[in-house]
């Protein structure tokens, strides 16, 4: 390379298209909740593994689906993959959450080994924006492998863990525990790469019918404050 150009580049005076992409990559993805964003230092990391521990049916998938909705428009053509779900994936639910079904793959009825292989392939291919996997337990090595693959392919690897016991000492960059409490979900951040430990966050994650119910209630309260001047 031209020595002058090289020097300029070292001083970072030259702007290149690739570095623009990198900077963009580092910007976190919003979680869709201001409180959780704050606790996670502005949101989920741009790529990598996210460990989500919860009981099956706490709204964990719903919460993480926000990542798809927060996606940039240039990411829309990338695939999302669901690996070994604990039952059949419901299309109606996904459509309710604005997921493009044509861009969604399901890998099911596989053995554990096949599921892990498929996950790694998807994550590192660069063609997937992320994968959601249900898996009982992963070893130290498997997590490292998936983490590196995810960074390489710039995609998410979201691991839904429905086991009871706490997992410590795993080389995870981000680990969350979810617990439903009525209409709210308590999010406990077990581990994250940057920043101090944060207090658990409570997120409202009600059913759709409840959302409407709350909205009506709010409307009613607001209307109660209005003094109608032209009342008969």
């Amino acid at each position: 390379m031209n020595p002058i150009l090289h020097e300029l580049q070292n001083k970072q005076w030259v702007w290149s298209a690739t570095s623009a992409k990198q900077q963009e990559q580092q910007k976190p993805t919003s979680t869709g909740f201001a409180t959780l964003d704050q606790a996670l230092n502005a949101g989920f990391p741009r790529a990598g593994m996210i460990h989500v521990q919860s009981k099956l049916g706490c709204g964990e998938f719903q919460l993480l689906l926000k990542i798809i909705q927060q996606q940039d428009s240039d990411q829309r053509h990338r695939f999302w993959v669901i690996v070994s779900p604990p039952g059949n994936v419901n299309a109606e639910f996904l459509l309710n959450h604005n997921v493009d079904l044509a861009r969604l793959l399901v890998i099911h009825k596989t053995s554990d080994e096949e599921a892990l292989w498929a996950t790694e392939q998807c994550v590192k291919s660069g063609a997937c924006a992320g994968i959601f996997m249900w898996h009982k337990s992963l070893t130290h090595l498997q997590i490292r492998k998936l983490e590196i693959a995810a960074q390489q392919g710039k995609s998410y690897c979201i691991w839904f863990d429905n086991s009871e016991h706490m997992r410590t000492n795993l080389p995870l960059n981000l680990s969350l525990t979810l617990q439903r409490n009525g209409e709210q979900v308590n999010v406990n951040i077990n581990k994250q790469k940057h920043g101090w430990a944060k207090a658990p966050v409570k997120l409202p994650l009600p059913l759709h019918c409840r959302q409407r119910f709350r909205a009506k209630q709010r409307q009613r309260i607001a209307q109660a404050d209005v003094v109608n001047l032209h009342s008969r």
Binding site: G57, F61, L101, Q121, A127
Partner: protein, 502 residues
């Protein structure tokens, strides 16, 4: 020098089948490949580093023709042991007991000839096949393009070196003369008539294309070489030999036109490879397949084409051939990409019997449209996506990789369906029910835990038309652990869990 082309067949459309005649002014090149089958066997050994291969390299190999009970080709190792072509089998096995014998198969050589012709076709226009061991090339027109014979010949040599086969080449102003020179192993690369004539003079007529009877007749009157033949008046010879032989004599003298049918490259790719030893392990098979893929890559590359589908037939010992099909989701031509797909599929293939030969074929390909990809477009990711799918499907099988589709049906079992990838249709506007669980159980399970009802009931009565009628009251319930369940009650008050609000 102009050459007159007489088209004997009038239908110009059938250009392939036209027999062409030329005057005696054209320069021809004849390539003679004396040990083509042997070379193809030895070639399959070379470049491989495994122990078994190294052993095989030291092996004396001979090709044996059972019809004449003779060795027709011997390799260097065998030659050093005293084996010669023309020996009988008994003598050969006495000289060297460890000799590896292969039956002579003209099919292999014809194949080889065609492959060489296919490559040479990139460099030179008029090629005619003279199976099983010869190629005829019309040099005349190429001289102008390559400026002179030396340049042209250098380029041809360069191309032939890739095949790693033995060959003899000779030029002459008639096909028969060039052939006779090449069969004698004389290397005559020149445009000078005098030199050619001198070299031809010493050639024996015994190995020319003349009838054996006529050769004997001429021998009896003392005509053994071309020189002797050319001293006899032509009428004298014509009295003695058949019409066919006379035509050859005239051609040798440069007094009759040659007739050839020019080669047209095949429109389909076929590659047959005889293995040196039988292979039982699919992993080892990959090494061989890679060679064929390399040829496929070249085939597609020069046609600016890509393919989505190739087939490999494995010829098994004492079993019917195993036919394997490989499909890629997007058109590709590079051998690495194909190898990836093939390796994944072969992992799951069990060979019931050792393989002794493989054949690869690619019948359909498409010409790549010219496109200028720029670095930042999404196209590369689109391609990565398709290749990911083909990789997943080839390892896991089609049933395990799926899309989800929505159908307008009130029965949850029917509303959401899993379908294989290529059958996905675009979703039209659909009316959706809110508050549906993310995961549905394949079979509803009896409810055992204690739950509090949050929402419900929502009655679903549907499906009376297709014998899968359901009458259910759906509720959303939450148990004390915080799990939200989709539960239903049947008319006979049985409770079931049908899904989870993940």
């Amino acid at each position: 020098m102009t050459s007159i082309v007489l088209v004997t067949d009038c239908s110009v459309n059938k250009a392939r089948d036209i027999l062409m005649q030329f005057d005696s002014q054209s320069l021809w090149l004849y390539l003679y490949f004396p040990t083509l089958q042997l070379d193809s066997i030895e070639r399959s050994v070379l470049n491989d580093q495994s122990h078994a291969h190294k052993q095989a390299q030291q092996q004396a190999i001979a090709i044996y023709q059972s019809a004449s009970n003779q060795l027709v080709q011997v390799n260097q190792v065998a030659f050093d042991r005293g084996l010669r072509t023309g020996m009988g089998l008994a003598k050969a096995s006495l000289l060297h007991s460890d000799l590896q014998l292969h039956e002579y198969n003209p099919g292999v050589e014809e194949n080889g000839i065609e492959q060489i012709a296919q490559r040479l076709y990139m460099l030179t226009s008029d090629i005619a096949l003279a199976p099983p061991q010869g190629l005829i090339i019309r040099v005349q027109r190429m001289l102008h393009l390559y400026q002179n014979l030396e340049n042209y010949w250098r380029i041809l040599q360069y191309c032939l070196a890739d095949f790693d086969v033995q060959y003899h080449a000779a030029c002459a102003y008639s096909i028969q003369a060039a052939k006779l020179l090449a069969l004698h192993g004389k290397r005559v690369i020149t445009t000078e008539r005098k030199t050619i004539h001198q070299q031809l003079a010493a050639c024996r007529l015994a190995i020319s294309d003349m009838d054996h009877k006529d050769i004997d007749k001429l021998e009896r009157i003392g005509i053994r070489t071309f020189e002797q033949l050319s001293k006899v008046p032509i009428a004298e010879v014509a009295n003695r030999v058949s019409r066919h032989s006379m035509k050859i004599v005239n051609e040798l003298r440069g007094q009759a036109p040659a007739q050839v049918k020019f080669y047209q490259p095949a429109s389909e790719f076929h590659d047959y490879l005889e293995l040196l030893y039988e292979i039982e392990n699919t992993e080892k098979l990959l090494v061989v397949i890679k060679r064929s893929l390399h040829k496929l890559e070249q085939f597609l590359y020069v046609r600016n084409a890509r393919s989505m589908h190739i087939g490999i037939d494995l010829y098994l010992r004492e079993k019917a051939p195993m036919k394997l099909e490989f499909t890629s989701a997007l058109p590709i031509y590079r051998q690495e990409e194909w190898l990836d797909i093939i390796a994944l599929k072969l992992e799951r293939v069990q060979l019931t019997s050792p393989t002794h030969a493989i054949e690869m074929h690619c019948l359909k390909y498409e010409v790549t449209p010219i496109a200028n990809d720029d670095l930042f477009t999404k196209k590369s990711q689109h391609i990565a996506g398709l290749s990911l799918i083909s990789r997943l499907v080839s390892r896991l099988g089609e049933s395990k990789v799926a899309n989800v589709q929505f159908h307008s049906d009130f029965r949850p079992e029917y509303a959401s369906r899993v379908c294989s990838i290529d059958k996905t249709k675009a979703q039209l506007d659909v009316s959706l029910q809110v508050d549906r669980p993310g995961i549905l159980l394949p079979q509803p399970q009896p409810l055992v835990a204690e739950v509090t009802v949050i929402k419900g009931p929502e009655r679903v009565v549907s499906g009376w038309w297709d014998d899968d009628e359901i009458t259910r009251d759906y509720f959303i319930g939450e148990d004390e652990k915080g799990q939200q369940l989709w539960i239903f009650k049947t008319p006979d008050h049985q409770w079931y869990v049908h899904g989870f609000f993940v």
